[in-house]
C-alpha cells in the first residue's frame, strides 16, 4: 500500500498539484510570483552560494532529463567506458558543487540579520529538502555506481510508464532504499513547488532571447488599433511576397505529406489476391444472406407454419431467436415442464430485440432501456419502461413424420402431450392460424 502510494499515488498527486498549483498561482497571484532575490540585502555570500548551486543543479537536471528523454541514445553513449566515467565524475562534481552552494545559502540565511526579515519557514523547508535530496543523490551516485547507465533501463521506463498513464512499479519496487527516497524526494519537491519560492522555476525567461528590445504598450484601444494597423499594412508588395512564400511552402509540404495520400484515395486500392477473394466471398455471402432473407420473407408471408428449432435445441437458459411471419423476432425457450415457450422478442417499449440470456429469476433483459421480462408470463418488471407484456406466440410440435404432437395457442390453451422419449426427434413450428386467432 505504502509502495503504491510512494510510486504511483504520490507522483500523480505531485504532478497534478504542481500543474494545478502553478496555473492557479500564475493566474490568481501573479504579483506573488517572484524569485524573491536577496542579493540586495546580502550579496557577498550569495555569490558563493547561488552560483555553485544553480550551475550544479542545472547540469545535474540536464543529465537526468537526457536519460529520461533519449534513453536509447544515451544508453549507447554510456556504453563507451571513458564517456561513462567522465559523465559520472562530472555528475559527482556537480553534486558536490550543489551541496557546497546549498550549504553556503543555508548558513547565510541562518546568520545574516537582514535576511531574517524576508525568511519564512517555507524557505528553510525548501533548503532542507534540497540538501537532503542532493545528499541522497550523492549517496546513490556513490553507492550504486554507474547510475548514468543503469537508470536508462530501470528508472526511465518507470517514469515513462507514469507519463503514459500506465504506471508500472515493478522496476522501482525492488530498488535500494536511498534510490527510492531520492525519487520520493523529487516528487515532494514537485509537490511544494507552486507554494514556495521554487515557483521561480516556472518563470525562466527564455522568451527574453527572442523578444525585441523595446516594448510599447498602448492602453487606449483606439490607438492600439491604429498602431497595430500601421504596423501590419506597411507595404503590400512585401506582404504579397511573404504570402507567396508561406502559401508556397504550405502547398509543397501539403502535397508531399498529405495530399498525395488523399489523392490515392480515389485510386483503386492495390489488394492482394487472397484479400480480394476474401472480400468477394464476404460480399457474395452478404448478398446471399440478403437474398435468403428476402426469400424467407416471402416464404413467411405465405407459409402457414414456420420451422423454429428442434425441440432438443431448446433450453431454459438461452432462448433461441426465430423470425415470425412479419419478420419480427421471437424467442423460444424450453419450460420446466419440457414444453416449449415462445415469446415475441420485440420489446413492447420501443421495439428493440430483447436479449436471450435468462437471469437467475427467470427473466430476459431488453438492453435498450432495461426492461426485464419474465419468460413464463412475458410480463415486464414493475417500473420498467415497457408496460405491456411480450406477446405469446402459438406453436405446434410435430414428430419426425410430421404429425402433430402438441400445440399451444397464443392465449395459452394447450392440446396433446410431449412424450419425453421422442421429444428429441420432434420439431417446433409456429402456426399462423393459431396466432392470428389470438
Amino acid at each position: 500500500m505504502l509502495e503504491l502510494f510512494a510510486f504511483v499515488g504520490l507522483p500523480y498527486m505531485a504532478i497534478l498539484i504542481c500543474i494545478v498549483g502553478v496555473v492557479w498561482r500564475l493566474r490568481k497571484d501573479p504579483y506573488g510570483v517572484t524569485s524573491l532575490s536577496s542579493q540586495f540585502l546580502e550579496g557577498k555570500q550569495l555569490r558563493w552560494g547561488s552560483l555553485p548551486w544553480h550551475f550544479g543543479i542545472l547540469l545535474i537536471f540536464a543529465g537526468h532529463l537526457v536519460a529520461f528523454l533519449i534513453p536509447g541514445m544515451w544508453q549507447s553513449l554510456m556504453s563507451v567506458p571513458w564517456l561513462l566515467v567522465s559523465v559520472e565524475v562530472l555528475g559527482i562534481a556537480a553534486t558536490l558543487l550543489c551541496l557546497i552552494g546549498l550549504g553556503v545559502l543555508f548558513f547565510r540565511r541562518l546568520t545574516t540579520g537582514k535576511l531574517q526579515k524576508t525568511t519564512k519557514l517555507a524557505d528553510f523547508v525548501v533548503t532542507s529538502l534540497l540538501i537532503a535530496q542532493v545528499a541522497l543523490g550523492l549517496m546513490v551516485a556513490g553507492g550504486y555506481r554507474w547510475g548514468a547507465s543503469w537508470s536508462t533501463g530501470t528508472l526511465t521506463p518507470y517514469v515513462w510508464s507514469l507519463v503514459t498513464l500506465s504506471p508500472d512499479v515493478s522496476v522501482v519496487r525492488d530498488m535500494p532504499l536511498p534510490i527510492q527516497l531520492h525519487m520520493t524526494g523529487a516528487w515532494l519537491i514537485l509537490l511544494i513547488l507552486p507554494f514556495t519560492r521554487l515557483i521561480h522555476m516556472v518563470s525562466v525567461p527564455i522568451h527574453y532571447l527572442f523578444r525585441s528590445p523595446q516594448k510599447v504598450v498602448w492602453s487606449n484601444p483606439r490607438r492600439h488599433e491604429q498602431a497595430v494597423t500601421a504596423r501590419v499594412t506597411q507595404e503590400s508588395r512585401r506582404h504579397f511576397l511573404k504570402a507567396a512564400f508561406g502559401l508556397g511552402t504550405a502547398g509543397v509540404l501539403l502535397s508531399v505529406g498529405v495530399l498525395d495520400k488523399l489523392g490515392r484515395f480515389f485510386q483503386m486500392p492495390g489488394m492482394h489476391k487472397d484479400e480480394e477473394a476474401n472480400l468477394l466471398e464476404t460480399r457474395l455471402r452478404r448478398l446471399q444472406l440478403t437474398a435468403e432473407e428476402k426469400e424467407l420473407e416471402l416464404e413467411r408471408m405465405r407459409a402457414e407454419e414456420i420451422f423454429v428449432a428442434r425441440l432438443s435445441e431448446l433450453n431454459g437458459q438461452a432462448g433461441k431467436y426465430f423470425i415470425d411471419y412479419a419478420m419480427r423476432p421471437g424467442l423460444a425457450f424450453k419450460g420446466e415442464d419440457g414444453w416449449p415457450m415462445l415469446l415475441s422478442a420485440k420489446c413492447t417499449h420501443l421495439g428493440c430485440t430483447v436479449g436471450n440470456q435468462v437471469d437467475a429469476s427467470g427473466r430476459i433483459l431488453c438492453p435498450c432501456h432495461v426492461s426485464y421480462f419474465d419468460i413464463k408470463t412475458g410480463m415486464p418488471n414493475p417500473g420498467a419502461p415497457a408496460k405491456a407484456p411480450l406477446d405469446k406466440i402459438a406453436w405446434v410440435v410435430r414428430d419426425q413424420n410430421g404429425s402433430e404432437v402438441a400445440t399451444e395457442s397464443a392465449r395459452g390453451s394447450r392440446t396433446g402431450r410431449i412424450d419425453v422419449a421422442i421429444a428429441d426427434t420432434c420439431s417446433l413450428y409456429i402456426v399462423k392460424s393459431l396466432t392470428l386467432e389470438a
Binding site: E225, R264, L279, C352, C368
Partner: protein
C-alpha cells in the same frame, strides 16, 4: 400617423434584410467586429461552417465507395476502412468532424443566446440558425444509420419507435398518425432497405440542399447586419473584420484542421465506443448491451430514460417553440439575464452529456 400595411411590411423586410448594404464597402472594408470578453463566441459560427465544409468534402469522397444497400452498405464501409488508401482517414475525419460540427453548432447557438444576438433586427438570422441546429441533428441521426451495423440499426429503431409513443398522447382519432409518420420515414413497417434508401437520400441530397438554402440566408443576414454588440454596454474596442477578424477565423480553421487531421489519423473514432464496426446488422441478433445514442443526443436521451414520456414531449415542444420565439419572448431581457439562461442551458447539456449515465444509474439503481 400610421403607415399603410404594405409600407410596414416593406419596412419590416428591409430592416431585417438590408440588401442595400450588399456592397464591398459595408461588408468588407468597413465592417467592424466588437471586442469584449465574450467575443470568443464570434468564432464558433465560423468554426461550425468550417467543419460543415469538411463534412461536405469528406462526405463526397466517401460517396465514391459507399453503397446504400442492405447487403452492401456494411461491406463497403469496411472496404473503405480497411482497403482504400487513407479511407480510414477520410471516414474518421467525417466522423470526428461531425462531432466537432455539432459541438460548435450547439455552442454557437448558446453564445448567440447569451449575447442576445437575436435582438432586432436579427430575428431572421436567429430563426435560420435554429433551423440549422435542427437540420444538423437530422444529419447526425440519418448519418448514423448508414454503415448498417448492428448497433446503428438498433439505435435507429429505438429512435424511430419513440415517434410511435407520441401517438398515445394524441386524441384517439389521431393516435394512429404517429405510427403513420414513423412508417413513412421508415418506408416500410419494419426497418429495412427502404429505410436505408430514405436515410441515404436525406443525408446525401435533401438535407444538404436544405442546409445550403438556410445557411445562405443565415450567412447573408449575418454579413449584412454585422456582429451583434454582444454585451450590455457598448464594447470599448472594435476591430476591423478585414483583415484582422477574418485572419483570426482562418487561423482557427487552420488549427482546427490540424487537430482534426491528427485525430483522424491517429485515433479511430470507433475506438471511443464499445462497439466498433464489427458486425453487420442481423435481424436475428439481439440488441447489443449498453446501447445508447451518440453523445449529442444524451441531453434528450437520459431525461427520456428517467422521466415519463409525456414530460419529455411537453418540455421538448416548449423548448422548440421557445427557441423559435426567443427574439420575441426575450425582447426586453437584459444581457445579464440572457447569460444566466444560456449558462443554465449549457450547464444542463454539459452535465447530461458528461454525467448523464451516472445520473441515470443513480436514479434507476
Amino acid at each position: 400617423m400610421r403607415n399603410s400595411p404594405a409600407q410596414s411590411v416593406f419596412d419590416f423586410i428591409t430592416s431585417r434584410l438590408p440588401l442595400y448594404k450588399l456592397n464591398m464597402k459595408d461588408m468588407v472594408t468597413e465592417k467592424e467586429v466588437p471586442v469584449h470578453r465574450m467575443s470568443w463566441g464570434y468564432y464558433l459560427g465560423g468554426l461550425a461552417l468550417f467543419f460543415f465544409g469538411i463534412q461536405v468534402l469528406t462526405g463526397m469522397m466517401l460517396l465514391f465507395y459507399y453503397e446504400p444497400t442492405v447487403s452492401e452498405a456494411h461491406e463497403s464501409v469496411e472496404y473503405i476502412t480497411h482497403f482504400v488508401t487513407m479511407g480510414a482517414l477520410i471516414r474518421n475525419m467525417h466522423a470526428w468532424s461531425a462531432s466537432f460540427m455539432i459541438f460548435c453548432v450547439i455552442a454557437h447557438m448558446l453564445t448567440a443566446l447569451a449575447m442576445k444576438a437575436f435582438a432586432k433586427p436579427r430575428e431572421m438570422t436567429w430563426i435560420a440558425g435554429v433551423l440549422l441546429v435542427m437540420v444538423t441533428f437530422a444529419f447526425g441521426f440519418t448519418g448514423y444509420l448508414l454503415p448498417w451495423n448492428q448497433i446503428a440499426v438498433n439505435a435507429t429503431k429505438v429512435g424511430l419507435a419513440s415517434i410511435d409513443q407520441v401517438g398515445q398522447y394524441l386524441p384517439d382519432a389521431l393516435s394512429h398518425l404517429a405510427e403513420e409518420v414513423r412508417v413513412t420515414i421508415q418506408g416500410a413497417p419494419a426497418i429495412g432497405q427502404a429505410t436505408l434508401s430514405r436515410f441515404f437520400a436525406l443525408h446525401v441530397v435533401i438535407l444538404p440542399l436544405i442546409v445550403s438554402g438556410i445557411l445562405g440566408l443565415h450567412l447573408l443576414s449575418v454579413q449584412l447586419h454585422g456582429m451583434s454588440q454582444g454585451v450590455e454596454d457598448k464594447p470599448k474596442r472594435k476591430e476591423k473584420f478585414f483583415p484582422f477578424f477574418i485572419l483570426k477565423d482562418f487561423k482557427e480553421w487552420g488549427i482546427a484542421f490540424l487537430i482534426l487531421f491528427v485525430l483522424a489519423l491517429c485515433l479511430p473514432f470507433d475506438s471511443l465506443f464499445p462497439y466498433p464496426l464489427l458486425e453487420p446488422y442481423n435481424a436475428l441478433g439481439s440488441t447489443p448491451d449498453g446501447i445508447k445514442p451518440e453523445w449529442y443526443f444524451f441531453f434528450v436521451y437520459y431525461p427520456m430514460e428517467m422521466l415519463p414520456f409525456w414530460v419529455i414531449i411537453v418540455v421538448m415542444t416548449i423548448a422548440t417553440l421557445g427557441l423559435f420565439a426567443a427574439p420575441w419572448i426575450f425582447r426586453n431581457s437584459s444581457h445579464k439575464t440572457m447569460r444566466w439562461i444560456a449558462s443554465a442551458v449549457a450547464g444542463y447539456m454539459i452535465i447530461m452529456t458528461l454525467f448523464g449515465e451516472q445520473i441515470y444509474h443513480a436514479v434507476k439503481g
